[in-house]
Symmetry: C2
């Protein structure tokens, strides 16, 4: 501890560009230009400065640079949580997206300031005003409407903001190609030989993607000359519980079914559990496919077929759209391509 203290004191003096300038025998402005890679400085000088900086273990103070340039080189990522939700229990889909956003930002030379927000005392998106970030990416649950209204207002007032799957059309958004994905899922069931395919999902949810997926399902069902059927999920429950209850409602309805398309994986996991526990075997008695491609669906028994968005593309598109908004340019891309993950739960033997 004591040695550390003396070390800490030695580090208290900060090496600045003036020190490097003295060391290299040039002016401070030249140091700044050389280190920034300004092509106007001669190669010889650039090397001399770089060498001096290395010797002194110098790094640019990016706070000072930012103050001068007005740019932060940082993007804020806000993850909206349910008010009562533990931070560790977030939807894994959200976490995957967070990972690819940070990766995409990094590749483009930006840092990412991440925060998890839920209640009103917790909502704060004024990163631009406080000069902490150049713009903001919003992801997370659509079920926290207060939070989305807060950010909608900020978006209206000119804040640079893009989001994943917004419940509102007046924000800049990116989403999975839900329609195409639902067609893919439904066609997959049809091709496997299933005929009485029920959709467990919603026409009215704030989750716009649920409606989009239901529409895609209907289109594929009609194209095959079959009849669509929807079990609407109950609001205000966990996805797993919604899935369980939808199965009970389906069974109680007497409606015949040989396969289920659940509009998200967490729903599908509840469906799977309820069916299995009540003696319906997957896929022998009932085929099942979800949507989102979360890891848990691969670990389910049997492994659950799903539709997976290209997460890497999703992160890149969110970052690129935000950078376009910041630059005041147009950015038309909105839909992330999806693909089929065919696993055992849809294998008709």
């Amino acid at each position: 501890m004591d040695e550390d203290n003396s070390k800490a004191k030695a580090r208290n003096y900060r090496v600045t560009s003036f020190d490097v300038a003295a060391e290299a025998g040039v002016s401070q402005s030249t140091v700044s230009r050389a280190l920034a890679g300004d092509p106007v400085v001669s190669e010889a000088t650039r090397l001399r400065v770089a060498e001096a900086a290395r010797r002194l273990n110098y790094s640019v103070d990016e706070n000072a640079a930012r103050l001068r340039t007005g740019k932060t080189g940082t993007l804020a990522v806000v993850v909206i949580c349910r008010p009562d939700e533990d931070r560790k229990d977030l939807n894994p889909f959200t976490y995957s997206l967070l990972g690819t956003i940070c990766a995409a930002a990094s590749v483009r030379g930006y840092e990412t300031l991440v925060s998890f927000q839920d209640g009103p005392q917790n909502l704060s998106g004024r990163y631009e005003e406080r000069r902490k970030a150049d713009g903001l990416i919003l992801i997370g649950t659509t079920q926290n409407l207060d939070a989305w209204n807060y950010y909608r207002d900020l978006g209206q007032s000119g804040m640079k903001l893009v989001c994943w799957g917004s419940p509102f059309d007046d924000l800049e958004w990116i989403r999975s190609d839900n329609h195409a994905g639902a067609v893919l899922a439904t066609d997959h069931l049809i091709n496997a030989g299933f005929r009485q395919i029920v959709c467990i999902g919603s026409e009215n949810s704030l989750q716009r993607q649920f409606k989009e997926r239901y529409d895609g399902y209907c289109e594929a069902i009609h194209a095959a000359g079959l009849t669509p059927a929807l079990i609407e999920i109950e609001e205000g429950l966990s996805r797993e519980e919604q899935g369980r209850r939808a199965v009970r409602a389906l069974k109680a309805s007497g409606q015949p079914f040989d396969a289920i398309f659940a509009v998200c994986d967490e729903l599908a996991l509840g469906v799977l559990r309820e069916l299995t526990e009540t003696g319906t075997r997957i896929p022998q008695d009932c085929g099942l496919i979800g949507f989102d491609g979360i890891r848990a669906s691969a670990h389910a028994m049997p492994p659950l077929s799903s539709i997976q968005p290209d997460f890497t593309a999703a992160g890149a598109m969110l970052v690129d759209k935000l950078l376009a908004v910041i630059a005041g340019k147009a950015h038309e891309q909105r839909r992330v391509p999806v693909s089929l993950l065919a696993r055992e739960s849809t294998r008709r033997s």
Copy 2:
């Protein structure tokens, strides 16, 4: 788009503390003090300034404040990935930890700068030098040794750094109470009536926690008058594949077993899959418990018993230890408490 442009131009002029000063009829220094809540300013003045700031929609430019104070109010969180690993496929345990770290930092008034790092071109922890963060929290896989060596060097050279489950003792670390957790898991199996309990794990892995868990297992086994047995996992594979192969090795060995303690959940999921596919029923033919409490284990069929660290405590301890390191204070806590998640995979009926 055109309306937005004019708006953007109008916002181009930045409101500063001087503008607020003029509006409130006080000096700029008073504005700074009033907004910082300095108790020396009179209540009347403070209110007048706050009102003026609100009218002008003013926010402190935190870059400027930081330049002046030398503090960033930011903690860097670096997630170490495997070099070949997709950002979206990270261990869910890591993501849960990331969530609770960000939450704990936020409660303590700090922002979190998050980055995912893998290869050498990608490693950069010099947040302090560049004045981007006051310190760094390191989490993620222990399997990327290059990355850990890089950060070990930074830690040695005085950087403020704490990590989760370091492979090195000379860094400041926090870990689950692995010994107690393993005892909990093993006693749980013993109490359920299992007697031939095999551990699938490692004595030599860089993952120190694997050894700690194995030791806890041995202690509980010996205390019950039973005989321990370890199947050592093979290096360089995915955890799931390691689990599968360990089961094959176990079966090939002819060693009798009626339960398995897998030292992490991802391993346990591979074990579960291999056993189920080869006709061994869980828990009727073999009990199974993992460690880490990841979500996928709850969704497995049957749901997998596990040992769960208190993630909220883990995030808080990491942040508190880092803040202690930054302040030059001692912080003794290192072990995160764990608890048993008893599910079907250990239910002996």
